[in-house]
């Protein structure tokens, strides 16, 4: 069995802790994501999928339980260490507002590397152009996000997520706002990158047709994992 890139043990997440309206949205989640996997996270709206994704992506912290990324426990890391780990090990693809409008497609792809390096460089620009070439967007490399279609923007977002060569990419409904053809193209692109680079993908989706084409489906219902908790041996 492949090494786990993400391990959650007894992870709970509650909002308004200690107040009368305290609400627990994740209940004692145990989950392992195998390295190199192409995984779908499904479940009805409000089931806790996005919360789980945010916790795995180190954008949010669990109320209790432990989370390890690439074998490193995250509970004792401070904000700067969490930010560093997130910037280097995890890539994100969001459903909407994929790109920063003030920058071109190429600059958006360069951005995670520029943030990590402190400034741009020829090598960073070349890598961004290579990534745009891989997602088939060389002709629009210098276009602003506003001048690109939703499918193109999502491809740029995937290229950006790959920029730092992360071991894990989290995609929150990446095809949710796209037409069928664009959604298929974006899904296939992620699949190809997964196979080519071995990067782990965890994709939140409502599209069961796409989910069934993933290596594993993890289903969340009412804050509990009801299916796909452990990788199949």
């Amino acid at each position: 069995m492949a090494e786990a890139i993400v391990r959650l043990e007894q992870v709970c997440k509650a909002y308004n802790v200690g107040e009368p309206n305290e609400t627990e949205v994740l209940h004692a989640i145990d989950l392992e994501l195998e390295a190199g996997g192409f995984l779908a996270l499904v479940g009805p709206s409000g089931s806790g999928k996005s919360t789980l994704l945010n916790i795995i992506g180190l954008l949010d912290r669990p109320t209790s339980g432990s989370l390890s990324i690439a074998g490193e426990p995250t509970s004792r890391l401070d904000d700067a260490e969490i930010t560093h780990l997130r910037g280097h090990e995890i890539g994100f693809v969001f459903q909407s507002h994929m790109l920063i409008s003030a920058f071109t497609a190429c600059e958006n792809v360069m951005m995670p590397m520029v943030v990590a390096n402190g400034r741009a460089s020829a090598a960073i620009e070349q890598r961004a152009l290579d990534l745009l070439d891989r997602v088939g967007l060389t002709p629009v490399a210098n276009n602003r996000a506003l001048n690109m279609s939703g499918g193109q923007q999502q491809r740029v977002a995937i290229a950006r997520a790959l920029a730092m060569r992360p071991r894990l990419i989290l995609a929150d409904e990446p095809t949710g706002n796209l037409d069928t053809q664009s959604a298929e193209g974006v899904f296939q692109l992620m699949r190809d990158e997964n196979l080519a680079s071995g990067t782990t993908f965890l994709i939140v989706t409502h599209n069961m047709a796409l989910a069934t084409r993933c290596d594993r489906i993890i289903e969340v219902v009412d804050g509990r994992i009801t299916q796909g908790q452990r990788p199949q041996g």
């Binding site: 945010n54 992506g57 409008s101 990590a116 460089s121 620009e125």
Partner: protein, 408 residues
């Protein structure tokens, strides 16, 4: 993306450029504020410098005069009766007691650069059937003209003061119908008279001074006023004009003279200048506050508009400190850009005002003083104001929860 530029600079510049309408409006507002500050500061400095130049070239910076005469009732008699009121005696024109020794002492003071003795008194200037009362000032030209630059005010003739010469003002010359080379009869208060030749006519830019001030040689004045060998005033120039009052007080404390500095004799002017400075300071303060609130308002809106961008940046590894710097920098850049354009517009307005506004005699209203220091200070203050104003929105941006920010 410029390769050598740090990420936060790139981000700040791009965010400002992306919201160019907002950026344009706030830079416009800062420009107006800075232009007002630059214009007013430079104009006030010019007016003050002009007045000081006029004052200091028309009177000594410190005047040493005989002390006031006071009545001293005799006391100690066996049946002493003290009057309820002691009448102040009339002030006769007196020579400074031991003026030669005092003048030598003044010359020895390191703060004093020029010592000029003079004699002044009242006389009646007569030409034909016309007569005017005048103030006669007897001077030694070689020293006095180093303090009061009479040649600067000359409109006809020259400043030549032999024992038979007199220099008069334009108003007196006009009233008496005299020109350079004409004779004037001067009748002194002591009863003596002299016939003098007008060698020069001066214009002080003041009607009263042009009517009353006349200049003759020191010995001529001593003879006319009946005080041979006497001196009624010792004029001093000092190195630091603003230390004149302190030096005057020190001189008065150690010599039997009354010492008046130009600061004391022009106290009303300094009160007016100080009032103008206070007003200018208040205007600067309120303009600065307006600019600060304007920058803060624009950046608060920017933080709200860019919350998703901030969330994405945080997701890709941007630290809270980098986000803080990114917005502080935007504030500083707005202030700096506004100060550059504002200084330019302020200076242009000053040049235009200087060229189009003249005094009644056609001379400049104020000297054009455009000091680089004013622009540097303004730019620094405006940039600092921008950074301080950006503090609240920058802190808000840096504290944004990435999840909330991405969700918008």
């Amino acid at each position: 993306m410029i390769r050598w530029m740090p990420f936060v600079w790139t981000g700040a510049l791009r965010f400002l450029a992306d919201g160019r309408l907002q950026t344009g409006f706030i830079v416009g507002g800062i420009t107006i504020g800075v232009a007002v500050i630059v214009f007013m500061s430079a104009m006030l400095a010019g007016l003050e410098a002009n007045f000081i130049r006029r004052v200091l070239t028309s009177q000594p910076q410190i005047q040493l005069l005989p002390p006031d005469q006071v009545a001293r009732p005799l006391r100690g008699a066996s049946r002493e009766i003290e009057d309820a009121l002691v009448q102040r005696p009339s002030q006769r024109v007196l020579s400074i007691d031991q003026w030669q020794m005092i003048a030598r002492r003044m010359e020895a003071l390191p703060e004093v650069t020029v010592v000029a003795i003079s004699m002044s008194g009242a006389a009646l200037a007569v030409r034909g059937s016309a007569s005017r009362s005048v103030s006669v000032l007897g001077i030694e030209p070689e020293t006095y003209l180093r303090i009061v630059r009479l040649p600067d005010y000359l409109v006809a003739g020259r400043i030549r003061l032999t024992s038979d010469d007199i220099v008069v003002g334009t108003e007196l010359a006009a009233d008496l119908g005299a020109v350079v080379g004409d004779k004037l009869l001067l009748n002194g208060a002591s009863g003596s008279s002299r016939v003098l030749t007008i060698s020069g006519i001066v214009d002080f830019g003041n009607k009263g001074a042009n009517l009353r001030n006349t200049y003759v040689a020191l010995r001529t004045a001593q003879s006319l006023l009946g005080m041979i060998g006497g001196v009624t005033e010792i004029g001093l120039s000092v190195g630091d004009i603003y230390a004149a009052e302190t030096i005057a007080r020190q001189i008065q404390a150690s010599n039997a003279v009354q010492a008046d500095s130009w600061i004391k004799t022009n106290a009303q002017f300094f009160t007016a200048v100080q009032a103008q400075k206070n007003t200018n300071l208040l205007i600067r303060l309120f303009v600065g506050l307006s600019v600060a609130f304007g920058i803060a308002a624009v950046l608060v809106v920017s933080v709200i508009q860019r919350s998703k961008d901030i969330g994405i940046l945080r997701a890709m590894g941007t630290t809270r400190t980098q986000i803080l710097k990114l917005f502080l920098l935007q504030g500083g850049l707005l202030g700096f850009a506004g100060s550059l354009t504002g200084s330019t517009f302020g200076a242009l307005a000053l040049v235009y005002w200087h060229q189009t506004t003249r005094q009644a005699d056609g001379s400049e209203l104020f000297p054009l003083i455009i000091e680089p220091q004013l622009f540097v200070t303004t730019a620094l203050l405006a940039t600092l104001t921008g950074v301080v104003a950006a503090m609240a929105p920058a802190l808000r941006a840096s504290r944004l929860d990435p999840v909330e920010a991405i969700r918008g």
